[in-house]
């Protein structure tokens, strides 16, 4: 096809890695939270809060690295609010999560008032002498910023910890049956609070990746539903880290592809192209999720300890 001729595959794959990183980070965090039995619908709010916290810190300090630290802290801070509401005040998780998203969107707009139109300091890209010079692979695999690799490392880490470590086993146990875990003497609330904080930090990192690297600037509501896609990703990936990566790549890939197609002037209305990443990702994951795997047994249920 003529149209695809104008698209450079190496560039396409390279930008796929970049486009998928924000939702990959956020979805991994949410995966851990849901495996601990908590449904936090505030991912979008934590992402956008992370985006502005990271942006502000990077602009003021001149260091993108400090920006990402601040983003993780900002996301975790908002998640702490969610933890207080759901784990101590025993509030409904769905309602608290939705409130968290709305609150995060408003808070970020307020914090970001002075930052509209500024440019953040550039994040250094990897440039490994030999590897980065390999013709095709060098560009696709070895010339990204560190956050892309952090995302990939996190996938492996989350998978291995959940599958092989004692901490992962206990976390899954708490998510599968919190009463039984409590009866065996595990600290359900403490484990869940830690998981929620981890989820918030990951979402914050994902948000800051958008505002510091992908876009890079600050606009209100700039996460544009990425948090919701991350949430859907976790469910359709059947709570498995490997499948989350696959879904994130798929979403990132279709996003990049449709942008390229728009630029190439494909005769399909832009609206259809813009919705295609959401549609295709969900469709593919729904088909994949038709096996026997199921949600953690205690997902979204309130835990009352008897003392």
């Amino acid at each position: 096809m003529m149209l695809f001729g104008s698209i450079d595959p190496a560039l396409l794959l390279a930008s796929l890695m970049v486009a998928s990183t924000p939702i990959l980070l956020a979805a991994l965090g949410e995966l851990v939270v849901e495996r601990a039995g908590v449904l936090n619908l505030g991912v979008e709010g934590m992402m956008i809060t992370g985006a502005i916290c990271g942006f502000a810190m990077a602009v003021n300090s001149g260091s993108p690295a400090l920006g990402f630290v601040a983003a993780a802290a900002g996301g975790a801070g908002l998640a702490l609010l969610f933890a207080l509401l759901t784990q101590f005040a025993l509030a409904n998780q769905v309602a608290s999560g939705l409130a968290l998203t709305l609150f995060g969107l408003g808070l970020s707009a307020l914090l970001g008032q002075g930052y509209v139109g500024l440019k953040p300091p550039a994040t250094i890209r990897l440039n490994i002498p030999l590897l980065s010079d390999i013709p095709f692979l060098g560009r696709v695999l070895f010339s990204h910023d560190l956050m892309v690799y952090l995302g990939l490392v996190l996938v492996a880490l989350v998978w291995a910890v959940l599958k092989y470590s004692r901490a992962g086993l206990i976390l899954r146990a708490v998510g599968e049956n919190h009463e039984a875990a409590h009866a065996l003497g595990y600290k359900v609330v403490r484990i869940r609070v830690l998981a929620i904080l981890f989820g918030g930090a990951c979402a914050g990192l994902g948000g800051a990746y958008i505002s510091l690297i992908r876009v890079p600037q600050w606009t209100e509501g700039m996460t544009a539903g990425a948090g919701w896609i991350a949430l859907a990703l976790v469910v359709f990936a059947s709570w498995k880290a490997g499948r989350v990566l696959l879904g994130a790549w798929l979403f990132g890939g279709v996003t990049v592809l449709q942008l390229n197609l728009q630029a190439a002037g494909l005769a399909i209305p832009v609206e259809y192209l813009s919705m295609s990443p959401y549609l295709i990702t969900i469709l593919v994951l729904v088909i994949m999720a038709r096996d026997k795997s199921r949600a953690p047994g205690s997902l979204g249920r309130v835990f009352y300890a008897t003392q």
């Binding site: 009463e179 039984a180 199921r294 008897t306």
Partner: protein, 505 residues
């Protein structure tokens, strides 16, 4: 004389409005099986939770092997040598047997070593178990083995068992008892909670009886009759159910070739079930939990639609009718799960009464509720069935299990059913309340109602039913008269040993 293992002195625990344990004192010796008896709400579970470190006592003290013992959390109790098998299994369905066992241990070895240790212990004690299987796929008996092996791997000195036999077949109970006897011969003490008094008489050396949180006495079960023990628990004499001689009428409910596909992952398909119940007859359906009981109830109540001809009420095909239409025709049901299925937990008793009785008791007019009459009906249930509650406005959730069960059964009985189907009518209900519920079912049958009682309590089925059948993997055995049945025959009808053979060698 063996040595004292655990001594409990003056243990007290108060919850807002209730004194769950009031200065309880007793002692367990090494190698002894000690029964803890009491009605629902007598404080048995609070007491064992304190021993296991899940609940902190307000006052009182414990000594374990002569040293002061105050476990702040279950981990400390396990370290001291106390292990517990829970009434509602504390297992994780989506995980493997080995992972479940690892979660109950302090310092589990690597999963591969653990798997071989599980095999070793399971063979030593005659409890065969494959460490790699997913717990959600196991039978109730096998799930209990997981719990027991989890405890045994920690080499406990005291094993607490909370209602361990309520979900087992007679053969599985025998195997469990053999394992327990073997443990006691090694010096392990067992604290045993059960409502089944005959079992306690066969197994236990001593019994401590709790009533309203107080230790009201002790006895040697082998030398005490089940009836005496029950009266000690209740604190008064009560009548055991009496069966009046009665005549059977024509067939009321006729089930032919009933098949239903399993509703979900963990459900059971019903396969080609046949039976008939006559007016005035009590049909008992036994079987180990999860063999199609819930599905059969749903098919009879109308929650599942089936072939029109598969179920006939007084000769009319009703398989396609929904629950409301079947209720109107006089087929009433009381499902097993009290909170959530039989009753809406956060609604008042009156509202719950309206939910099933609106049509038959005419509690609505032009779509509006007749509150006055609904409340009268609820009060009638409360008085007639001795439901202990502040009043008809109380939320169902606030009632204790036994009281709510009396309400749920009473609500259907007072609607004068033509056919009544009950599932586990006395599950987790104390002896006196259970006797009252059974009597109500028998009275109902004496007045010409056809009663189908689905239950896992064989003693109950033998006591009240005229004919007995057993469900096994969604199939119904031959239905036979109860008088001529022996326990062995019943066990075989229930599906035999379920792979529960004692390992040889």
């Amino acid at each position: 004389m063996t040595e004292e293992l655990l001594a409990v002195r003056g243990l007290t625990k108060a919850y807002p409005g209730v004194l769950a344990n009031d200065r309880v004192t007793f002692a367990i010796h090494e190698g002894e099986v000690h029964a803890l008896l009491g009605e629902n709400g007598a404080g048995k579970s609070t007491l064992v939770k304190m021993i296991y470190g899940l609940v902190k006592p307000d006052s009182g003290e414990m000594t374990f092997r002569g040293a002061p013992y105050e476990p702040p959390e279950p981990r400390a109790a396990r370290n001291a040598g106390v292990a517990m098998v829970f009434q509602h299994f504390s297992l994780f369905d989506a995980m493997s047997v080995a992972e479940n066992v690892a979660l109950g241990m302090e310092n589990p070895p690597a999963l591969r070593d653990l798997a071989s240790r599980i095999r070793e212990v399971s063979e030593t004690y005659g409890l065969p178990l494959d460490p790699q299987r997913t717990v959600g796929d196991l039978s109730a008996g096998e799930r209990q083995r997981v719990e027991i092996i989890r405890c045994l791997l920690q080499e406990p000195r005291l094993l607490i068992m909370d209602e361990p036999t309520s979900v087992l077949t007679p053969q599985e109970v025998d195997i469990l008892f053999q394992t327990l006897r073997r443990l006691t011969s090694e010096g392990v003490a067992i604290l045993y909670i059960s409502h089944k008094l005959e079992e306690i008489r066969t197994l236990c050396d001593h019994a401590t009886i709790l009533r309203q949180g107080k230790n009201v006495g002790s006895c040697v079960p082998r030398e005490t009759s089940a009836r005496e023990m029950a009266e000690l628990m209740v604190g008064a004499a009560f009548a055991s159910p009496r069966r009046a001689g009665r005549d059977m009428g024509p067939v009321a409910l006729d089930v032919t070739g009933l098949s239903v596909a399993a509703p979900g992952h963990f459900g059971t398909s019903l396969r080609n079930i046949h039976f008939a119940v006559r007016q005035g007859e009590v049909l008992g359906l036994g079987g180990v939990a999860g063999n199609g009981q819930d599905e059969l109830l749903a098919a009879l109540s109308g929650e599942f639609r089936v072939d029109a001809e598969a179920i006939r009420l007084h000769g009319k095909p009703i398989g396609l009718l929904g629950p409301a239409e079947r209720r109107a025709m006089g087929l009433l049901t009381a499902p097993e799960e009290r909170l959530g299925h039989a009753a809406a937990p956060d609604m008042s008793l009156t509202e719950n009464a309206i939910l099933t009785a609106a049509t038959r008791e005419k509690l609505t007019r032009h779509g509006f509720l007749k509150w006055g009459e609904a409340e009268d009906f609820t009060r009638r249930i409360i008085t007639r069935f001795d439901v202990r509650t502040p009043g008809p406005g109380t939320a169902a959730r606030a009632l204790s299990g036994g009281n709510l069960q009396k309400f749920v059964i009473g609500r259907e009985v007072l609607q004068r059913p033509e056919v009544l189907v009950v599932n586990q009518p006395t599950w987790g209900v104390d002896a006196a309340a259970a006797a009252a519920i059974r009597q109500a079912l028998l009275d109902l049958a004496a007045n010409g109602t056809a009663v189908i009682c689905i239950s896992q309590d064989l003693d109950e089925l033998m006591e009240i039913s005229d004919r007995f059948g057993a469900l096994n993997e969604g199939r119904l055995s031959e239905v036979r008269g109860t008088r001529s049945l022996s326990v062995e025959e019943i066990g075989l009808m229930m599906g035999g040993a379920h792979g529960m053979e004692v390992a040889h060698g």
